[in-house]
Structures are given as C-alpha cells and as structure tokens.
Amino acid sequence: MEPTTTNIEKQTAAGVDVTTYDALVIGGGIGGEEAALNLANMGYSVIMVEKDYSIGGKMVHLSKVFPTLDCSACITTPKMSETIRHPNIEILTYSEVRGIEKDGKIFNTSIVKKPRYVIEADCTGCQLCEQACPVVVQDQYQYDLVGRKAAYIPFSVAAPRVAAIDIENCTLCGACERVCPPNCIDFTMKEEVIDVIVKSVIIASGFELFDAKKIPQYGFGKYKNVIHAMQMERQLVPTRPYNTVLRPKDGKMPDNIAYVLCTGSRDKTIGNPICSQVCCMYSIKQAQLIMGALPMADVTIYYMDIRAYGKGFHEFYIQTKNMGVEFVKGKIAKIDEKDDGDLVLHYEDIENGGAPKTATYDMVVLAVGVLPQNNIPELFKNEVLELDEFNYVKQTDKLVNPGMTTIDGVFVAGTSSGPMDIPDTILSAGSASAETASYLRRL
C-alpha cells in the first residue's frame, strides 16, 4: 500500500551516510503537506519530519470545516496520500529534528527516528496485533474519549498505515509478536540518528492546543462533563466513537450544551493575550453539527465577541443563530458541578442589565485556543531563530515575504507563525513554498 522501503533505508543499505535534499519540512500537517507538495511538484527533493506516527496533523481529526461544512478528512486524506506517495518527498514519521547547523549555503541536519518497534517496510496494517494486544489505554487520537490497545494502528486513515507499539504501556507479553503475519514486530529496535544535508528549511510544526487544566475554575479534568472542543469534534466526526453525542460521566445524551469561548485565548492570566482566530467559528460549526446529531438539544454559546471575520463567516454565524443556537455575551468566570454531573456556569448577564447569573447545563464544551510550540528555536544550533512577542516564529518581512524568518533559508508556514484557520494555513504554506523555491533558484 505505502512505499515498501524508504529512500534512506535504500541508501543506507548502499553505504551512503548522508543524503542531500533541497528542503526540509518540519511538520506533516496540512501546512507541511501543502508546502512539501508544492516544492516536490516543482522538482525539488523534500524531506519531511513528522513527530507523530502518522502525517495529517490536526486537520485529519476534525469533523467538518467552516463555513462550508466540507468533510475535513475527505479533503485532507487525498493530500496525505499524495504526500506519502510522492517520489520527491521522503517522510520520516515518529521522528524529530534534533539539530540544524547552518554551514555556508547548506544546513547540516540531524534527525532522531524514534523506535516504533514495528518494521515500517514490512507492516501490512492488518491490525492482528491490535486484536491480540491485551492492554487497553486511553486513545490520544480520540482525545481520551475511548480506549485503544498498546499495539495499534494510530487511526483508521493513518499515513503510513503502520502499527506502532506504545512501549510505555506495553507489558512485553509478546502476544502481538506471535500473531503478526509478516513478523515485523521488533522489540530490539533502537533510536536511530539520521544526518542529512538540506538547502532550505520550512517550519510547519503547527500549534499546541491550550491545556484546559490551566484554568482550574472551569474544572476540566475534575468535572467529567466538561470537555474540550477537540473532544466534541471527535464526537461529531462520521467515525465517532459513540456514534452519537454523549456526555462522558454517565453516557447521558445531553439536552443542553454550553460553549465557553476564549478558553485560553485573549487571556493574560494564562499568558496568551491574543485571539486564536478559530474558536468562534469552530464552535459555531460544532453547534450546527450538534443540532444535526441531537435535534432536541439546546446549544448556548457564551462569548466575549463573536469574531466571524472571513469570507462567508458572518453569514454562517447568522445562519447558526437563526437555526436556534443561543448566543450570550459574557465570559464564564467559573463552573461548578452538581451531584448529578450537571454543570453550573457563572457569568454576568451583560446584555440584560448586568447582574451576576448562573445557568445549568448537561455538558460544557471549552473552546480551547491555539498556542505556539515553543521548542522550535532550540533546533537551530548556530543561528538564532527569533520569535515574536507572542512566541510564534517571527516573520521578519510580514507584508512582502510572509514566509521569511530571521535565518536566511529558513521559512515559516501555517500556525507556526501565528493562529490561523485551515484556508489561511494553506495560503501561508503556498507562499512559504514559493519563497523557498525562489530562494533555492537563487542559491
């Protein structure tokens, strides 16, 4: 199905130690894929480093995209396949860039490939290991809503579709090893350091989701029926784990659901003063999807401002309002849990005089924001990659060359440069790849 053996393995077998690529793309999400594909289609050779088991980033886990309500996975999986099959793109999954050193016009790059304990080239993705594995742990790809095995295919549309062993939770019982038809499970696998030479770098490492536990007043992690938006997103995808929307504590179908906007955005107390740009719209989108999944449920969105700024966004917001979703101006200050698991929200009813009020809901969704990944500058050993005041990669010439960073030959794409939605990420990746191509031509 996927490439049977990687270029690096071939070359290593042939005794070549270092490979040269035109571009290194850090991150295999939608931004990284877009940038890599653009360059590869122009004939440049690309090496992509993805820290996860599969490429696809966060977009592959989403249900629909706003405001068109297109199926997210249906858009992103063809791109994933194209990326993984492209002859000019080499992908290293479950790998991390350890260090990049600029040497004249090239970058000496050292990449760590962590052991997944499955020989990628041999795995057929048959999932027999998954059936055999006796260990059940929380599934991070379903945002802890359901369980998975310790030997597992990360998710159904993973690319590459190769199993991995979660060694932290593995009991080393050997059950998977015994059932694996191509005998590709190898517990002796070790971390591997791969050194490559690249001529340019594109940072497309994406964003971190805000950890809702950092706002203890909302009780995330303590009150089971308080979930974050990615968990709701997973409950709304076609391959959703419960096949409907249920609240986690008792499996009750919620009659009323509240959204708490700006959880971890525009909030100096947790160190992120800026708007995440996507939470208003994804919450509005989820509200529409909930109305489809649970026609009888009431959805209320608590907001500070609704920022529906893109093409068709405002119309989508008005449509959602007209569909019966309630919008209440007021930031939720605090959530309490009742004995039956219902949740009491405290807010100021600003539009009706301003008295402090409470409202009770079956389930609360925290519209968590977008945070920068802060370990990117550490990768550059002899140059300084500057960050902007919000800790995103600094765009030195934002209006003329938005992909440019403080290091010549290093470009930035997508949410590594700031919060943005999917279309903007793709635009940004397109621009970064064009700037990279132009840089490579002039090299």
Binding site: T269, D305, A333, K334, Y347, D349, A355
Partner: protein
C-alpha cells in the same frame, strides 16, 4: 442624561487606578465577585462608568463601598485591568468627592499636601504643649509611677479631645450627609418610605460591629480549605484591629479621666486590660497588614498608594508611643514619659484629623452606611413591587 469625560481615567490614575481602558467588558469580574448579587453588582459597571468618565453616576454609586477587595476579580481578569484596584481607587475618589473642604482630594493627589498637613498639625500640638503644659515633675507617686497628670492634666487634655472629636464629627457627618444626598436623595429611581430608615437601621449597627462582609469576601473561588482559612484570618485580624481602635477612641474621647490616671492599677483592672487588648489588636493587625503589603502576598496588598503607608505608619507610631507612655509611666521614668507623651499626641492628632474625615479611616463610617443605604433602597424597591 449623563455626561461623559474621556479624561476621567487620568484623574482616577492619581487615586491609584491602573490601565482601566484595557477592559473589554467580559464580565468575569462581576461573576467571580462573591459579594456581587442581583441587587448590587460590580465591578464591571463601575469600570465602564470610569472608562466613560460618567462622574455623576460614580458619585451616586454605593458599589465601591460594598467591595471589600478580595482581589479575585483582578486575578481572574483576562486583561489584567485590575478591577479590584479600580474599586479601591474609586473609594479614594469618593472619599474626596464627599469631602466639601477639598482637603481630601489634595491629600490623595499630592504627597506634599499630605506631609505638610501632618507636620503642621504636629507642630500645632507641640506649640500647645509649649504654651500650656504643666511642670515636668520628676518626683514619683507613692506607687513609683510618673505624675503624668501634673505635666498634662487629663482634664485639660480631655477638653482638647472633645474639641477634636467635635471637629471630626462635624466633618464626617457632613461627608456622610453628602454621600446620603448623592446616593439616595438624588436617585430618582426609588422613593424611600420613611419607616425603612428605622427598620433597616440594625444593619448599620451589625455591619459596623462585625465587619461581616469581610468574612464573605473572596469565597467564590474555592481552592480548598486553605482559601477559606485565609478569608477568615483576614476578617478576624481586621476586626481585632478595628475593635482595638474603636475601643481606644471611646476611652480617650469619652473616658480620658478614667483612662489616663496616675494611679497604677493592678494588671487585671479593666483600664489596663482594655488598653492591652486594644494595643495588641492594633499591633497584630498593623504588623499583619504591613507584612502583607511589603511581601505583596495577596492581591489586595499588591498595590499600595502612599496614603495607605501614611495610614499604617501613623497608626503604628501612635500605638507604639502610646504603649511606651504606659510603660515609662509605670516604671517611673519621668522625662521619657513626658517626651514620649508629647510625641504620642503629635502623631495621634494629625493621624485622626487627616485619616478620619479625609482619608482611609472614613471607610469605617462609609462602609456600614453604604450597606445601610443599599438595604434601604432594596427594601423600598421590594415594597414598590
């Protein structure tokens, strides 16, 4: 119609407020406030009025006095606009607004005025002593105590006390009346039936005596037992200090002949016990609040206006010199007693004259009056319904 004044934020900044224009009206402060309810809700509306400079609205508001500054609004404000400190600044501002002499505004906005007034009043006391003090008798009483009433006869000092108390009452009642005028009489939204002033009066007494709101302040965010303990610790220590101060004021103004004696009573005598209780209360409170302010250990202690320091320092010096007079007197050190006694009054007099009608100690009157007025209004609205 209410007037707006965009420059009001600059005025308020002199009273301690911070970047109030940072507020984007999310309402977190009001909903996290444990003293906010459907009848009186704050601080967001006060921030809004301050940003717009609706001075008429601010002048007629009781809300700043209903806030006891737990600081939870400030810690949870996503814009770090410091609503708690804004409410504190509004209390300072309103104290200045209620004061018709204009002195309060001067003291709050000019260090020179404040310091100048303290020195002037202290010198006045010194001059009075130079002019009217009795001889510094170095012989001791039969019990071995200093003959303080020869140097500064309690009867004479008592008259001065009465004059001082009369002026304090004069200024303070004037200010409270202005508060009443602006917050009740000029509020056209509600007509107060006369009998409510009597039926609600117990609330004034209750809140004055117990400072009950302090015990409720800041218990909305419940991070376990620790927080609860902190709230009640603050309340008890504040109550200790407050009762100590009020007790001393009553003894000095009302019963100086009984309090300032040459006779050394046994330790269990009420005169001594009450004095020790008040002194301890004052010391414990002052040390606690000073340490909090220096260490900035709680939200309300983070920002200290210079008038807060004046208040703490003067009160501390008064307490210290007061207990020193007592110790020197009973141990029989005449000169030490006399000099310290003069210094004691040189600190005490400016402190009372400045703090009680024009500065922070007026809270002691405004706060219970605000609760009383607010309850009267609420009761009137209920009747109307």
């Amino acid at each position: 119609m209410s007037k707006i004044n965009p420059e009001f934020a600059d005025t308020l900044a002199k009273y301690g407020a911070f970047d109030i224009t940072a507020c984007f009206n999310c309402g977190t402060c009001t909903s996290i406030c444990s003293l906010s309810d459907e009848d009186n809700f704050f601080p967001r509306k006060m921030i809004r009025a301050s940003v717009l400079g609706q001075t008429d609205k601010i002048d007629s508001s009781l809300e700043p006095w209903l806030c006891y500054y737990c600081g939870e609004c400030s810690t949870s404000c996503p814009r770090e606009a410091n609503p708690g400190e804004l409410m504190m600044s509004l209390r300072r501002y309103l104290t200045a607004r209620y004061d018709w002499t204009g002195l309060s505004a001067k003291f709050y906005t000019s260090k020179l005025w404040e310091l100048g007034a303290i020195i002037l009043l202290a010198l006045f006391v010194l001059v009075m002593f130079i002019l009217f003090a009795g001889p510094m008798d170095t012989t001791l009483t039969d019990q071995g105590g200093v003959k303080l009433n020869t140097f500064a006869p309690a009867k004479v000092v008592h008259i001065a006390d009465w004059l001082m108390a009369a002026s304090l009452v004069f200024f303070l009642t004037g200010n409270v009346f202005r508060m009443y005028w602006r917050t009740i009489v000029k509020d056209e939204s509600v007509k107060i039936p006369f009998k409510l002033y009597f039926t609600e009066a117990w609330k004034f007494v209750f809140h004055f005596a117990t400072q009950w709101q302090f015990s409720k302040c800041g218990d909305k965010i419940d991070d376990g037992e620790k927080k609860k303990e902190k709230t009640s610790t603050y309340w008890i220590i504040h109550l200790f200090l407050m009762t100590g101060y009020v007790l001393l004021l009553i003894m000095i103004v009302g019963f100086l002949n009984w309090f300032q004696t040459e006779e050394i009573h046994p330790w269990w005598h009420p005169q001594r016990l009450l004095g020790y209780y008040a002194t301890t209360g004052l010391f414990v409170g002052l040390i606690y609040f000073t340490v909090q302010r220096i260490k900035k250990s709680s939200e309300k202690a983070k920002f200290t206006h210079y008038t807060d320091w004046t208040f703490l320092v003067l009160l501390f010096l008064t307490t210290l010199t007061g207990i020193m007079v007592h110790i020197f007197r009973i141990t029989g050190l005449p000169y030490a007693t006399y000099y310290i006694y003069v210094i004691h009054l040189m600190v005490l007099f400016p402190m009372l004259m400045i703090e009680v009608p024009f500065s922070k100690w007026s809270h002691l009157a405004y706060r219970p009056f605000a609760i009383y007025f607010s309850n009267v209004k609420i009761a009137a609205k209920k009747i109307k319904k």
